[in-house]
Amino acid sequence: MARIGVFVCHCGENIGRTVDCARVANELRDLPGVAHSVDYKYMCSDPGQSIVKQAIREKNLDGVIVAACSPHMHEKTFRRAVASEGLNPFLAEMANIREHCSWIHEDREKATDKAIEVCRSIVEKVKHNVPLETIRIPVTKRALVIGAGIAGIQAALDIADGGVEVVVVEKDPSIGGHMSQLSETFPTLDCSQCILTPRMVELYQHPNVKLITYAEVEEVSGYIGNFKVKIRQKARSVDADKCNGCGACAKACPNKKVPSEFDTGLGTRTAIYVPFPQAVPNIPVIDRAACALFRGRAKGLKKEACAKCREACSREAIDYDQQDTFIMQDIGAIVVATGYQLYSIGKDQPAGLTGYGEYGYGTIPDVIDGMQFERLASASGPTGGRIVRPSDGKEPKRIVFLQCIGSRDPAKGIEYCSKICCMYVAKHTMLYKHKVHDGQATVFYMDIRAAGKGYEEFTRRAIEEDGARYIRGRVSRLYRDGEVIKVQAFDTLSGEPILMDADMVVLATAMRPQPGIQLLAQTLSASYDQHGFFNEAHPKLRPVETNTAGIFLAGACQSPRDIPDSVAMASATAAKVLGMFSKDQLEREPTVARVDVSLCAGCFHCERVCPYGAITHLEIRDRKGNLVKVVADVNPGVCQGCGTCQATCPSKSVELSGFTDEQIYAAINALVL
């Protein structure tokens, strides 16, 4: 027989005025299994808590009910008190007779009746409570940052400065991301390289950072505090330990006409290359698809078609036979900072998107995108910072910018606003005016969205000081007429049709998530939205966490973000990671699900409904090692205790500790008699 103690609180007058606390205590005392029942003026006060402790000792209680305020208020208080007497804290529960009773009813008799029923229900539940242990998870204090754009760099540096080891995995040969391609940056127009390069170098040299470039995350297993990560180091064809970055190899390479990704196809590079002069690390890689030697090998040539780079390298760093290798890492927390790509207006698009035939599907040479404009405007770009037309190298005197291309366009592209293009278009008009003094910039826009510190002032400056002409209306068509581009538009504010001649047109195309990022999300069991951006756990209160414990977000992988936003997120993420690492063990409530493997039929309905991907497959084998069956298994590190699995399980084989069917039925049965 259970030995349960009931403690009814008056809360001064708060409960006592409406509920006859003495009567509650008396009636409860007569319940089977109740060994002790008293009422007191302030249960949460020190003397009140002492009453509870004393009763546990003296009456040898094995369960405690405090009938008082909301458990959200004092459940922790009483569980602590109970634990101090050596009783398992999860054997104590509260019955809410204040917020849910005395405060909302006037009729003393009815309120008292209700209080008695509520207490009785909790008593019945507690009879079925079992001791539970707070879950403690060990933490590997090493973070992984995936993607080294400005967001990844900032997050890694902040974490590393906190004294924790960080592994940074970047898929490209160099870190820096899109920011390294930008010319000058809004809202202050500082030079992108000037503020970014020092941070890149700092990351490279930081004693706590292990930087792995030209690499991708291949597999992730485990859970918060205890991830095992497999990283594929792609073959560079250059031995990074031997190379000193002298650049002799690239100079020797005969294949100089490969379109440069970094220069968005406006410039060229060699087959062995570093993406840009300030690249970190300054170690080249061979683009095997473009290299004569590898093409020769693919064709089955016996002799090496070229080996000029090896001949040029005095350090014997070139290694044509290098293979992809794998690196395993134990990781406690993961920061995703994979950034974005730009929407292309071309004909070939992923499912659900279409290109812009009315703008020529990207075939008109002097219709470029915003990133190409950045490269043209960049002092280190293919034109040395001169803004000229790709077709004939002439300086455009009439330049037209189209905003919201691909964005806010459910019919062809995506419905969201890319958030940064209004700003960078304003920036582009300024950069243009600063370089082409006699030129005219015209912007076709729908709305100007410049909500940030100094942003509105910035766009106004483009209009008021730098003479950019803003026309409200989406352009219908672009077409070539000899050397000029015809812009067919409508000024919705003046009500006038427009057919304008332009020498160059810049499309502010939408920000989209990186290609293939869904695959990474699945590897991480993190969720993503319908566009492929990573989902934050809560848009307001948990913006840098994912729903998967231990996985965090920074930068444009979560939604379109500019640099200030990306950096703020990155630092916030670092704070989260460091906070997590400040403890040796993670503690969490033991409210997690458990599977009874003898009952489980292996239907995996639970797996499908679990919001956290906490359910895994467990193979049951006999002693000879033959597979008997596959059942569900809950990873307690991942389970958050919602109980959806239990309600879904057809055979009731999975149970949520603290809220088992037995406990709930007992509570229901006691309520309605």
Binding site: K347, Y356, G357, E358, G360, Y361, Y479, R480, D481, K486
Partner: protein, 322 residues
């Protein structure tokens, strides 16, 4: 190949040459056009400008007839008819309520199974035959393919080609050996619907189209819509400034016919308002040139083959002169 045929009102009257040339090419390409017996008007612009229901019911009657007469596909050469028939069929598939209403009005069995095709789709499927039979006869002739609006829009309904940068007509023209020029106003509207009621608009729009085609170096404008044709052909004098050479406006079927070597007379081309004489002459010239080139090539091949035989001394006679 046999395909249902819905000529529509224009092809029976103002655009008879479209009908005639189409039938002539069909014969040449072994296609049997089975005219829907007792077809009625699709309602055209007037139908849908005044009653959505009527604009679906009139085409539906014809689709039902085609079905009764065992046709799976119906060719509607007139762009307006094509657009109306295809749109009606699409609306009926999308809107179950409308389908019930229409079935009630038609009072005849109707399952909406017939697929509506335009001339471009027909010819596109025959490109290998056209290429073969025309043997590059129109090589060097520069034409501007004009699609207009009715054949490509709305994109969701008439999805046989890209709505902004269509290419089917260009591909067909190229099959005859002609060059299709790159120009800008391929899918701009010529104002067809106002042909009769608002001439000034039509002239403004048509002029821009002709100018752009001319600028691109086209010798003729190729169309696949009777309304485009009557606008750009009949009204061209008003669209052209003095000193500009007139631009013949040919139905796609006429161009294909010329490629196949059919006579302009058989295709009713004499009915055009802009004189087609010059372009017919060009066709004859290019054909002659192509033939001469082919002959020269054959002769050369024969010569080398003969040389080879002479050298080898053993090859049987006639080999290599295929």
């Amino acid at each position: 190949m046999r395909i249902g045929y819905y000529p529509g009102c224009s092809l029976h009257a103002t655009s008879r040459e479209f009908d005639e040339s189409l039938r002539a090419t069909a014969v040449a390409l072994d296609v049997e056009l089975a005219e829907i017996d007792d077809w009625s008007c699709c309602g055209a612009t007037s139908g849908h400008a005044t009653s959505h229901l009527l604009s679906v019911a009139l085409p539906a009657r014809n689709l039902a007839l085609a079905e009764e007469q065992g046709m799976q596909e119906v060719l509607a050469p007139c762009a307006a008819c094509y657009n109306r028939l295809a749109s009606a069929s699409h609306s009926l598939r999308e809107d179950a309520g409308l389908e019930i209403k229409i079935k009630e009005i038609l009072a005849r069995p109707f399952a909406n199974t017939v697929r509506v095709r335009n001339v471009m789709e027909l010819y596109r499927s025959l490109i290998p035959q056209i290429t073969e039979k025309s043997a590059g006869r129109l090589k060097g002739m520069k034409v501007a393919c004009y699609y207009g609006c009715l054949l490509v829009r709305p994109p969701g309904v008439l999805a046989f080609d890209d709505a902004e940068q269509p290419t089917s007509m260009d591909e067909i023209c190229r099959a005859t050996g002609a060059t299709s020029v790159d120009w800008n106003l391929k899918v701009e509207c010529c104002g067809g619907a106002f042909s009769l009621s608002r001439t000034a608009s039509v002239i403004r729009l048509g002029r821009a189209i002709l100018e752009d085609a001319r600028k691109a170096g086209a010798e003729a404008l190729i169309v696949a819509c009777p309304m485009c044709h009557s606008n750009l052909d009949f009204r061209q004098s008003a669209m052209t400034q003095s000193g500009e050479t007139p631009m013949p406006v040919l139905f796609l079927s006429e161009l294909v016919g010329m490629g196949l070597g059919l006579s302009a007379r058989d295709m009713g081309m004499k009915r055009h308002f802009v004189n087609t004489g010059p372009i017919e002459k060009r066709a004859t010239e290019t054909a002659a040139q192509v033939a001469a080139e082919a002959a020269a090539k054959a002769a050369k091949a024969a010569e080398t083959a003969a040389k080879a035989t002479a050298q080898a001394g053993t090859a049987p006679a006639g080999k290599g002169v295929a």
